[in-house]
Symmetry: C2
Subunit: 618 residues, 2 copies
């Protein structure tokens, strides 16, 4: 990969083929003016190519637009004086390291297919069909404890169709095997499973080949329940309407199936090959999928219908898979700590390791788990949807046109920002919001209480309808035709949200006599965790101020956990053990919670000693 040397700062780094010079600059914290989000129209991101070869659009004859510039060889670029640069900001861009938790396990799915060549009956030995089958299985050490009625009915025909050569599909549960399918002839090669992360916003599915353990296809789409309510609370409300619950369940099942068909099409496989469907979702989503009454999840004292969901068959749920195909749901711990978290902890391996780990899943709510192989404490922080852009004036989901990264020049207070898909800016998504707030704080445009400087006159600072605000994108440059602003109200919401998270870390740790400094690792789950900038998140006090090499982002651990259960039989037991181990702390009910929360309503915190690296940098 070619290298880029930024002058006059003498900062050099490798650049990947799909990155432009402005992407790399943003990553390195080097400020280049860019007010169009990197789409190549504002003409402000000009750089001078001092040496090397590169492709890009020229401007004013001698400059290149950094947002169009792809190096061909190593290059040296000089950033004109118009783009100021704060040397210290270079320390302020750190991504958590990706951590793929790969274990060296041999593939051992709970679905076993066994090919049998049975001896056909004769008058000397006319054992009934079922017992003939069971005894052949018993010889191979498969003890069958459950035989479904539907299989009994097709049994004599299937056996005779293929002259007593058949393939059986078995599902291993705690006490033996359940017979789930019987096919004429040899069909060992057909053995699929689907793993799904059942999210409030999106469904993510993988199609897995249980013979190889490989992922054959991946897809995702919105959870169609969104049309009936964006967050879990509004969906619980919708479920109270007549047939509301049924409708919600049907919609999400339909969409899952459509996505499954998409996966099958991509892989060139058939729906009849799917033997297992493993689902991990939060407690509300799981209730809604299962058409279980969600009302009491929301009503005091917040009681789910179940923690461990029974093993279901496709036909129980009206899913048009083979009727005995097994549907597994990841167990919940509490109303707001669900199967996505238990599956996530499973995938993270934290419950098998010694290191004291803080697991954070930041979505609509923030769920956190502290522990290691000896104990697990968990809680849901009522962070609200601020980190997904909810409750923020110009907030939006992390889709095309969302501002995902911001840097503000400390002298000019001009922003540099990038949008997802490099489109005209529509609004600001979670990572952009954190980045923006951290920048505002660093350049001193807001104080530690989250208030804008009242003394400064600047075209981007003004008193709007909702109080003071910073104009990130002027309406001329936005996709919406309106200014994209960040208000003091927005900041207040964010401070509350991050305060709830931070107080949560403290309560959980304190409840086992530990403190933040003792954390050996911080795991960030979810796609959010992979976009967040560590320095920014620590700067505003959302993440604890620990050595940066203790932070890891793990990706979609809910989906990873759902997959593990499908690929390794013992992982289901491990998942049960995790669920059993997890002690849930009801934060709102904790006597010290309010104190910790109030103390955290400051940037980064009222107790500066908790953020030593920030005070050092001052």
């Amino acid at each position: 990969m070619p290298r880029v040397l930024f002058q006059p700062y003498q900062i050099e780094a490798e650049i990947s083929p799909d990155e432009t010079v402005i992407d790399l600059a943003m990553k390195l914290g080097i400020h280049i003016n860019a007010s169009c989000g990197g789409i190549g129209v504002c003409n402000k991101c000009k750089v001078f190519l001092e040496s090397g070869e590169a492709k890009g659009e020229k401007i004013e004859d001698i400059y290149y637009k950094a947002c169009t510039l792809y190096p061909v060889t190593d290059i040296v670029v000089r950033i004109p004086v118009e783009s100021h640069f704060d040397r210290k900001a270079l320390l302020r861009k750190t991504r958590a390291q990706a951590l793929e938790r790969k274990e060296t396990l041999s593939l051992d799915p709970p679905i076993k297919k066994v090919y049998l060549e049975l001896t056909p009956p004769d008058i000397e030995e006319n054992t009934p069909d079922l017992e003939r089958l069971l005894s052949a299985l018993s010889e191979k050490e498969f003890e069958i404890t459950e035989v479904p009625y539907s299989l009994l009915r097709s049994l004599p025909h299937v056996l005779r169709e293929a002259d007593f050569k058949v393939t059986v599909t078995l599902f291993k549960h705690a006490r033996g095997y359940r017979l789930i399918d019987l096919e004429a002839g040899y069909t060992l090669e057909r053995n699929l499973a689907v793993a799904m992360d059942l999210g409030t916003t999106t469904l993510q599915l993988e199609l897995l080949d249980l013979n190889s353990g490989e992922t054959l296809a991946y897809t995702s789409d919105y959870n169609p329940q969104i049309s009936y309510g964006e967050d879990v609370i509004s969906r619980i409300e919708f479920a109270r309407k007549k047939d509301g619950l049924k409708l919600l369940a049907e919609r999400v099942k339909e969409r899952s199936l459509l996505l499954m068909e998409e996966l099958l099409k991509e892989a060139g496989r058939k729906i009849s090959e799917i033997n297992l469907f493993s689902i991990a979702g939060n407690t509300v989503m799981t209730h809604l999928f299962l058409e279980l009454e969600p009302r009491f999840l929301r009503e005091y004292p917040y009681v789910p219908v179940a923690k461990n969901y029974p093993l279901l068959r496709a036909k129980d749920l009206g899913l048009p898979l083979k009727e005995e195909s097994v549907v597994l749901f990841s167990p919940s711990v509490a109303s707001y700590v669900g199967g996505d978290i238990t599956a996530g902890v499973l995938a993270s391996l934290m419950a098998q390791e010694e290191q004291l780990t803080l697991f954070i899943d930041l979505g609509t709510n923030g769920e956190i788990v502290v522990g290691n192989r000896d104990f697990l404490m968990c809680a849901a922080c009522s962070a609200g949807p601020a980190f997904e852009g909810g409750g923020i004036k110009c907030g939006m989901r992390a889709t095309s046109g969302a501002i995902e990264s911001v840097n503000i020049d400390p002298q000019t207070y001009e922003p540099m920002f990038l949008t997802i898909g490099r489109k005209k800016a529509k609004g600001i998504c979670g990572s952009g919001i954190i980045s923006l707030m951290a920048s505002l704080l660093r350049v001193g445009l807001i104080d530690k209480a989250g208030k804008y400087r009242r003394d400064l006159k600047h075209p981007r600072l003004r008193e709007g309808d909702e109080g003071y605000e910073y104009i990130l994108v002027f309406k001329e440059d936005s996709a919406t035709g309106a200014d994209i602003v960040f208000t003091e109200n927005d900041i207040e919401n964010l401070i509350r949200a991050k305060g709830a998270m931070f107080a949560g870390y403290q309560i959980l740790l304190e409840s086992v006599g530990l403190s933040i400094n003792e954390l050996e690792r911080v795991f960030l789950a979810g796609t959010f965790g992979s976009y967040i900038d560590l320095e920014d998140a620590i700067t505003i006090g959302l993440l604890p101020d620990l050595p940066r090499d203790r932070f890891y982002f793990l990706g979609n651990t809910s989906l990873q956990g759902a997959k593990k259960v499908v690929l390794y039989t013992h992982k289901r037991e491990e998942l049960m053990r995790i669920t059993q181990m997890m002690t849930h702390v009801e934060l709102s009910n904790h006597p010290k919670y309010m104190d910790y929360y109030m103390a955290a309503l400051f940037l980064p915190h009222t107790d500066e000693s908790l953020f030593p690296s920030l005070s050092q940098r001052g």
Copy 2:
């Protein structure tokens, strides 16, 4: 009870209040002419009342009709000389003793109802509903291994409806308990089960209270599948038609339900109180009820779909009981040794005792079991339906108007007979046929090969369309307006049937190195067994010639077995053990079967040493 002394024979016996003098005479083997079947119209059964008081219809001023005569006090009756009497016949009427197999077991049904007052959740302890319930059950030592989805869906509502005071219904299986119902409040008193004998001809049902073990109601009716075929073979044939199997299954399920409703009405109970339905039937009937392919039961090499049927829920079978109510089927051993026999052996206790026992169930086919607590051998004898009146010219089922008992005067060859319900004779049922054949043999009207005397001129003996025959009822006296006859063809059919049975006893015994003389007990199952006259059955060689006190009739052991399973949990395991123990011998395939069978085609047998008591009497 008053006593009756019959003169001139000096035979005296007690008479029960519902018996007439002719009933008693028939029981004692005392011949009184009676050609109307005991309905009081032939005026031939006249007796002279010598002393005592009795009520009845007079005839010729000084006589009474014996068929109308009910003693009030002890009486002496004299039988006029017209009614001859063979003294030896007195030895020839022996009923097997009834044997009620009552054990001293404490009631322990596999259904347990448990009333729970759960602590309602609060914010300190907001365990999910399901785990709250399961942990309360676990405290009472009920470990739940299965929770049905439907219950999960109603769980939160039921719990809250009754302020967390609920009654759960559990079904015990091998590995723990299955949760099958949840009701608000205290409902321990509602716990019913139904036991059913699923017969080819009749369904017999009992409604049981699982709290007391008492039978609340009993009913029976024809198996409506009769309309599609009288015997198992014709029903298997019908099942091959399009939707034939479905239709057969639906008909019998409908009828079962109607009968169940009748039981519930009689007992004043509700269908929702039924938690368990235990069914014992032969292999074909069980296949048809379960809509399992019956074809291969009949086709060589005669393979049932299953020996052990899985535990089913009412909803699996589309039965409109509570959907999780358990339906149990008694296991089969082979195509023609079914759940009626395994349940029968269970009820007979023979598999728990030391005495070598021969168990005989004589219905459409004859199923036999030989063994004791150490071993069990079984076989189906292809006796055909002769003992139910099938394949016999004037044969009929044992219903109103069927001749059930016959005695022939050794001098006049005139018959005395009684009909069921004391109606005009319509035909001859099984016990009548055996009785008639034994009488014909005793008085010498047929020889040991089953042929009528050709030398005798008698108005009741003639050569008809189908060869020689005995006219039991002249058309003037029959309900059908036709002569009721017994042909040589009929006799041949009967000889074949009894020969198949006898050869079966011999093969089974020989296969374990035993002989008929070593039998310590003979158990006669089914209603047939309670009507059969031992002397008659031994005379024709249907039953072995053993001391009469070794014979017992047990009644409907299939129904009794189905009941035991419902009342005592461990009986289901015992039933499994019995089924496992039972070694099935395919008679038609046994190398010696044909020899034994041929040797038995004689009255009583070609080997007279096998019937010593008959040769003694000469």
